[in-house]
């Protein structure tokens, strides 16, 4: 196995996980096209990738049952039946977007207050100064 093969085998897992750049992936494909040893290694890793997928799929098939067991233990109800009552003012204000909206609303109200107040003041001043 030459140094090219060493480098290639080190990156075959990355090739399969899709983390190589386009240029690197192209170089990898070229090497795999001419090197039977690395091609065999790549096939073996692909096969193991499928086995890992299958293993996780068998674990995942039981995941909902496990989650429900935990929920039962914590005394929760069936979460698919009802949504939680989480829309309290405190929780709502904790939402970043809501906080920004609230701040903007406060600025607008304060601004309007000043505009209205000062327009009244200038009107009253004009009345006092020049009469009706």
């Amino acid at each position: 196995m030459d140094s090219d093969c060493e480098k290639t085998r080190d990156r075959i897992a990355d090739f399969l996980t899709g983390t190589l750049s386009d240029a690197e992936a192209e170089a990898m494909e070229q090497h795999l096209g001419v090197c039977a040893g690395c091609r065999m290694y790549e096939r073996a890793l692909r096969q193991e990738d499928r086995l890992l997928d299958e293993l996780v799929a068998t674990f995942s098939a039981e995941m909902t049952r496990r989650e429900d067991e935990v929920i039962n233990v914590i005394g929760g109800v069936d979460v698919r039946a009802a949504a939680p009552t989480v829309w309290s003012a405190g929780a709502w204000l904790k939402n970043l977007l809501a906080r920004h909206a609230a701040a903007a609303a406060v600025i607008v109200v304060v601004g309007l207050y000043f505009v209205i107040t000062f327009s009244w003041v200038s009107e009253i001043t004009a009345v006092i100064r020049y009469g009706l």
Partner: protein
Amino acid sequence: MNEFSDEILVAAAQRGDKKAYSLLVKGHYRYVFAACMGVVGNVHDAEDMAQDAMLKGLVKIKELRSGEQFGEWIIRIAKNLCVDLIRRRKTARALLTREASVPPAPSAAGPDLEEAIGRLPQEYRVPLMMYYFDNKSAKTIAEKLKISHSGVCQRIRAARRQLHRFLSEGVHDGQ
């Protein structure tokens, strides 16, 4: 996936809303299970540890300052519980038997994937398990485990190489 953010659900759970906590369980259990599987290396213990972590999370939820950090926080709790379990077992084994260091005999049925995963070092097994449980997204794992994206890729790469070696050993030994 539910429509509420972790921040909202954590805030509600901190006020004692168990339904909100149930939704957090639904959203995070598989990652907690994957992390446990990565540390303990077998399904049975991973199930127990993931359940214990979720219960401990409920008890300690008021200590969590930022709801956005729930995923990372609950995985840390789970990993600590798994490490405690391994430590307790090691101590118990050391007390009960002097043959603890004898490696298990290779399976007669040939290379076993679960067995090979169990032989991987914990630092490789955790990202590898989470990678396969999390739709193969190295980016999400990096966020959950608080390590760099390249660090996750490097560990997955090393895990795959070792796993291949373990599985090949079984094949070659059997021939």
